[in-house]
């Protein structure tokens, strides 16, 4: 392997782009997915604000979005992305499909994490005469915090691999580099380095996530 063919500044830029794509889309994924997950949880049967119809609709939408393979979503989303931010290319162009692809996934994770919170604790809050919204934000979410952090960790890693995939339709970052140089120009070295970098980044995210979960666990 001849590492001299590698343009390290390209690698640096691509790594930065990958981090930006992951970070920004993680932000929007949480922004959309967290409320959606909370809504799924509280409207479900025998929960705080049981609403059968609302739950059924939300659940259906989430399932539909989750059943579209990400590669197809990337392509389907192109016109929407153009309307939203003016281009479907580069780092910005990759963010809308990334968010749409992972927000429903994250919402489901959130729903499951909230279900793990002891029912008795919620019931005790109800018995105290505390309003439902206050129970959600003051008791339910803090109790679920370690689980939520774990869900964010999993989602961040999913986003990073999706971000790499967006290289196929001209997104930026390490995936784009791997496809253009590693695949199309047969520069195996670039492929190896980008994959190695992705492995390292995923390890760092997982490790930090695990540490945070441990820090906030009071059980």
């Amino acid at each position: 392997m001849d590492l001299s063919v590698i343009d390290w500044s390209d690698i640096g830029v691509a790594t930065w782009e990958t981090l930006v794509m992951t970070g920004v889309s993680l932000f929007f994924t949480i922004l959309l997915g967290l409320p959606l997950g909370i809504l799924l949880f509280v409207t479900a049967r025998r929960q705080l604000l049981e609403q059968g119809f609302v739950y059924a609709v939300l659940s259906f939408v989430v399932n539909v979005l989750r059943s579209v393979p990400f590669l197809i979503l990337l392509i389907v989303m192109i016109p929407v992305t153009v309307i939203l931010i003016g281009t479907s290319l580069g780092v910005e162009g990759a963010i809308p499909p990334l968010v749409v692809g992972t927000a429903p996934f994250f919402a489901r994770l959130v729903e499951n994490v909230l279900r793990e919170v002891d029912r008795g604790v919620i019931e005790a809050c109800q018995a105290m005469g505390i309003r439902t919204w206050r129970i959600i934000f003051g008791a339910l979410l803090p109790e679920a915090l370690p689980g939520l952090i774990a869900a964010v960790t999993v989602t961040a890693i999913t986003l990073m691999s999706y971000a790499a995939m967006s290289g196929v339709i001209g997104g930026g970052g390490l995936g784009d580099l791997a496809i253009r140089f590693g695949y199309q120009r047969f520069q195996t070295e670039v492929m190896v380095i980008t994959v190695a970098l992705l492995v390292v980044l995923v390890q760092i995210i997982q490790y930090s996530g695990d540490r945070l979960v441990l820090y906030f666990t009071r059980k």
């Binding site: 008795g120 019931e123 005790a124 018995a127 505390i130």
Partner: protein
């Protein structure tokens, strides 16, 4: 304080059939009273206590607290009611993510008490009341079961309720810890004049702190009254079997048909029951002094139920019918209850 009128609760089971959890329950509970509801698991006692703060909505009937029908409250009214009614649970149900002090502060903070200094003072007061002053900074996972229940009690008292509901509050604790929690509840009942309604399957809990008891079985109240009356003279088969299964009060449930000594008996089998101060008077010896009757004590207990002393003895009397009749007359004169069993 509480009046339960013709309460019914029916569930729709998974297979579509209606299951009755409560059937025509009526009870009256006085202010300042410690009222126990005892029953086997599945008897409906948990459903019953949960209707008192509407965690469970009855299918029919009314629950009046201080004359107000809580089943007709709107959501604002229900919030207000629940702030006046504290509740503690078998599994404590503390918030794991909050410290002990924050757990106690939470019902105050979340129900509109904005003055943080006043809240902190109240939390300190409550921590002292339940004997956990040194533990405010800890998390629930660092506490023992008894300590967790103390936090539960402090939390339930934060909003100064007039009524405390205890849902199997000692069932997850060992006997020693149970006693210390019961003592605390009794202290609170006396110091604050708090009415306590508790459900349990343990007779010992009822005996230790309750003034009155209701026995529930199959969703119905089968027997109710002063604890000493109910446990020393159990009428219903369910109460009898409950009394029989406890180590104490063996004489109360004595059944000659099933007793090992029945075939060895020569005389008359009599059960004496006396409640109150008479327990500590030498009445038995006075009665026997002049009587021409042989007496054998077969079984018995002298103890107290809450703070009411009682004695209950199973005696075999041997003598002529007239002599035994004279003893009975003397017992009647001293108002000692006696039943001839065989």
């Amino acid at each position: 304080m509480i009046r339960i009128e013709n309460l019914h609760k029916t569930y729709r089971a998974a297979d579509g059939r209606d299951v009755s959890a409560l059937a025509d329950v009526s009870l009256e509970i006085g202010a300042g009273e410690v009222f126990g509801i005892i029953g086997r698991s599945g008897a409906g006692k948990s459903t019953l206590i949960r209707t008192l703060n509407l965690l469970e909505r009855p299918s029919a009937g009314r629950v009046l607290i201080d004359g107000e029908d809580i089943t007709s409250l709107d959501s604002e009214g229900l919030y207000a009611l629940r702030r006046r009614v504290g509740m503690i649970f078998q599994h404590f149900n503390l918030l794991n993510a909050k410290t002990v002090a924050d757990n106690i502060d939470w019902p105050l903070k979340a129900t509109g008490h904005t003055d943080a200094t006043a809240r902190a003072a109240r939390v300190k007061e409550l921590l002292a009341l339940v004997g956990l002053s040194e533990h405010g900074h800890k998390y629930p996972s660092q506490l023992s079961g008894g300590q967790k229940q103390r936090v539960g009690i402090a939390r339930a008292l934060a909003n100064r309720p007039q009524l405390l509901l205890c849902d199997e509050a000692t069932s997850a604790l060992d006997p020693e810890t149970t006693q210390s929690i019961l003592r605390l509840l009794l202290d609170i009942n006396r110091q604050l004049g708090l009415t306590i309604v508790l459900i349990t399957h343990e007779m010992q809990v009822i005996r230790t702190i309750c003034d009155r008891v209701a026995v529930i079985d199959g969703g119905r109240i089968v027997e109710a009254g002063r604890v000493a009356d109910v446990f020393l003279h159990p009428q219903h088969p369910v109460t009898r079997s409950m009394v029989a299964q406890s180590d104490a009060l063996a004489a109360a449930s004595y059944d000659p048909a099933h007793a090992y000594m029945s075939d060895k008996l020569r005389g008359t089998l009599v059960r004496l029951t006396y409640i109150g101060d008479v327990t500590y008077q030498p009445i038995l010896s006075r009665i026997m002094a002049g009587a021409k009757v042989q007496i054998t004590i077969l079984q018995g207990e002298v103890s107290s139920i809450k703070d009411v002393p009682f004695g209950q003895l199973l005696l075999e009397l041997e003598g002529s019918e007239d002599d035994i009749g004279a003893v009975f007359a003397e017992l009647d004169r001293h108002q000692i209850h006696h039943e001839v069993l065989q």
